[in-house]
């Protein structure tokens, strides 16, 4: 069987969405990039990274197209059963035997036809494409035109696959990325060793960032406090602000362009430099917002003026990589810090400020400061060697993060779900809850889900517990006996709490993991929801 190129893309999407492991996804992606020709592979890459522009077709239009072709009652039964419009349409689309000729469209054909279609003839073009495609290709086409593949692959992971393909560092891909456009033929040619690395010609490109290592046991004794500067570690998102030749971009830590979500900040970037810092919300002169506030601004493609006003974005700068034409990355941190301090003074003070240094004499003194940070949005301290250049990646030694100790709560195991891959025969994903309600009629309310933090041996023990104490089964999920008299208490560690309207408990944990199994603790003595609520209000 020869798979047409469109079908290979469709097959890739299908496999990616069902493959849970990161390595599995990488293998599928690199295999695809290796075996598919230009320009199809580059268009597939753009579709995955969200860099493919196709005029969207609304779901209502799609539904209308299919209703013109089949009995509405049968469509209704079908849609009710499947639950997903794109999938239903791809399956029920009527197919006359002559339609699928030997010329099933390539991804490039599909993209070209869709991009050339005007708003008015878009639906007709789509219908003709669906007529000429097989079921899985139809699904892929519909996903392309309705926007959002939702296959669990980030742009970052796609770039890692490219790096694996060419055996280069992912930082090299990130650095080039924003200067390239689909279908990325020159990028693939370089990764396959056929040509030189593409030249950076575009302005305001991303520079791969420098990352820190956590302070481990015994690390501090080996470090001389005099060689390190300390700063607060702000709980925002790491951004790089690049402004060059009138082009202004805000990049995430992995090189995704997030400028669109922060037009207020981008507007204030009337300089020529590359700055490294933390994106926060609030007013730097008055009050810094919490991570919960910041979340109002995250994961949005565009943002309303009202939200911008309510949660203004600003950048707390801690490093400078370039000023004008001068690349500062090879200079020592001490020198860069001096240049940064002077530079930030020239910027709009409501949008940019300087992350202050924390004065300390020895590790003991710093430890005390770390334990009692002066603001809730501080999550620890950073240590930076005064003489370190700005290096790409996570070199061991020059930068350390020393985080505040995590919060913990004692919760009761409520549901367990089977894992994937290596863990597919283990109940390894746990939903846990804490007590709520008046004394005498307490109920467990779920507060989070965790699937790591335990050893293999502990996993075996919990798995056995789950199997021995199952009350009900729903597909891969088991509900486990959990009441005042019996239940497994889990000590759960987490980094913080957000308010949540989606969860019944009203809270959502950040980075929850199982820190200890409390076989010794009676379920009735697990924590109450008020403990978490207090944390939210502090």
């Amino acid at each position: 069987m020869v798979l047409t190129v469109m079908n290979r893309f469709a097959e890739l999407l299908d496999r990616l969405v069902l493959t849970p492991s990161r390595n599995g996804k990488l293998t599928l992606l690199t295999d695809y990039f290796r075996s598919v020709e230009d320009p199809d592979r580059g268009l597939a890459l753009a579709a995955i990274t969200g860099d493919l522009t196709i005029a969207a077709v609304k779901p209502a239009m799609l539904r209308m197209l299919v209703m013109e072709r089949m009995d509405p009652v049968l469509f209704g039964y079908s849609y009710d059963y499947v639950g997903d419009l794109a999938e239903t349409v791809s399956l029920v689309w009527p197919q006359s035997p002559g339609d699928i000729a030997n010329h099933e469209p390539t991804l490039a054909d599909v993209v070209a036809k869709l991009q050339a279609a005007s708003r008015s003839d878009g639906p007709k073009v789509l219908a003709r494409l669906l007529d000429s495609a097989s079921i899985s290709a139809r699904f892929a086409i519909i996903k392309l035109v309705t926007g959002g593949l939702r296959i669990g692959v980030s742009a970052r992971l796609a770039k890692q696959a490219l790096a694996d393909l060419g055996k280069v560092d992912v930082a090299e891909i990130e650095e080039l990325w924003h200067g390239l456009t689909p279908p990325y033929a020159e990028l693939f040619a370089w990764l396959e060793g056929k040509t030189e690395k593409p030249k950076k010609t575009a302005l305001a490109l991303f520079r791969p960032v420098m990352l820190s290592n956590p302070i481990g046991d015994g690390d501090l004794e080996k470090l001389d406090p005099a060689e390190y500067a300390a700063e607060w570690k702000w709980d925002g998102i790491r951004v790089q602000a690049v402004s060059e030749g009138g082009i202004r971009r805000l990049y995430s830590r992995t090189g995704d362009d997030v400028s669109g979500a922060f037009p207020d900040l981008a507007e204030a970037m009337n300089f020529s430099a590359t700055l490294d810092g933390e994106l926060l919300v609030g007013d730097p002169l008055q009050a810094t917002g919490t991570f919960s506030d910041l979340q109002q601004r995250l994961n949005r493609k565009s943002v309303t003026p009202k939200i911008q006003q309510q949660y203004p974005a600003f950048m707390r700068c801690y490093d400078v990589l370039q000023i004008g034409d001068e690349d500062l990355r090879a200079r020592a941190f001490r020198e860069r810090r001096g240049r940064l301090e002077a530079f930030v003074q020239t910027l709009d003070p409501s949008r940019f400020d300087l992350s202050p240094l924390v004065e300390f004499t020895d590790w003991q003194a710093l430890e005390e400061l770390r334990r009692k940070p002066l603001h809730p949005v501080i999550e620890g301290v950073m240590l930076k060697r005064w003489d370190s250049p700005y290096l790409t990646g996570r070199p061991k030694g020059p930068w350390f993060k020393w985080k505040r100790d995590p919060h913990t709560v004692d919760a009761v195991l409520m549901y367990a779900q089977r894992g994937h891959g290596k863990r597919s025969s283990f109940y390894s994903d746990y939903t846990f809850g804490v007590w709520s309600g008046p004394e005498g009629s307490e109920e467990l309310v779920p507060v989070g889900k965790a699937y790591f933090g335990f050893t293999d041996e502990e996993l075996r023990q919990i798995d056995k517990y789950v199997r021995d104490n199952t009350i009900e089964r729903f597909g891969p999920v088991r509900s486990v006996r959990a009441d005042r008299r019996q239940g497994l208490v889990l000590e759960v560690a987490f980094e913080g709490l957000n308010r949540s309207t989606r969860h019944k408990s009203g809270v959502a944990m950040r980075f929850p993991r199982i820190s200890r199994l409390r076989w010794d603790k009676p379920a009735a003595e697990a924590d109450r929801i008020e403990t978490l609520q207090a944390l939210l209000d502090s």
Partner: protein, 336 residues
Amino acid sequence: MRASDLLHPRPEGLYCPPGDFFIDPVRPVNRALITHGHSDHARSGHRSVLATQQTLDIMGLRYGEGFAGTTQAAALGETIALNGVAVTFHPAGHVLGSAQIKVVHQGSCIVASGDYKRQRDATCEPFEPVKCDVFITEATFGLPVFRHPPDTEEITRLLKSTAQFPERAHLVGAYALGKAQRVMRLLRDAGYDKPIYIHGALAKLSDYYQGQGIDLGTLEPATVESGGKDDFSGAIVVGPPQAFADRWARRFPDPISCFASGWMRIRQRAKQGGVELPLIISDHADWDELTATIRETGAEEIWVTHGREEALVRWCELEGITARPLHLVGYEDEGD
């Protein structure tokens, strides 16, 4: 005679009053005619059973000899008279030994098809369309969304995955009777000649298939004694689906869970079941096969059983064919 006087549902199953027999009864009865060996159709404890020799053999393997008082083998195409009612078994293409049962009496002709499919399957006789007045069809996949791809494409995807992930074991969930052997045979037909590892629950039936001249190649038990974990690297292991959720599966290195079933057409079904590689291979007719078969039988009336009756009844209405759901209880989809 009216068709509904010749066959109609009773709590025990589909009953023929003039012939005094049941077809695929779910409770022990005096005389049972059985379409195929899946456990929801073939139960033990009847006083007498009439079925194809292969179905009788399979029932013997599953329930032990003595699963019925007496047995009688029906040869395909041969008419047998039961109290003046003429019954004939015709191949259904579902699993080895599966048959449709034609019932004729006083000018009325009904075909009870049991479970059936139209895709070619090297492990059983192909379905034979039989002209009749009333055709009783299953509707397991009776929705327009169910369209099974060619099984060879699905096996190609499995083999491609074993090449992509040579260090991992591929665990293929497939029902023990029919589907498992079909998957193995498809692998052989695709040129896969390494041993296939099987769960113990498949051994007896697979041996039987081989004994019936259906070559499945070398099958090895998937036991830890046959080697360490690494011996299953790159292996294809076939077992009943429920075994893969069980502790049994822990002996395999970083397994990829695959499931051969018509249900795998729906992504959410695959996702919920934690299936990484869904293989859409079904022993039941898909929507297009159901509708084509209904037309081919030339039946004036269609009775629809187990599955999504409403969509198929609706389709018949649109086509001007009389149709009604036949409410039979107790049938699951063991075969898929």
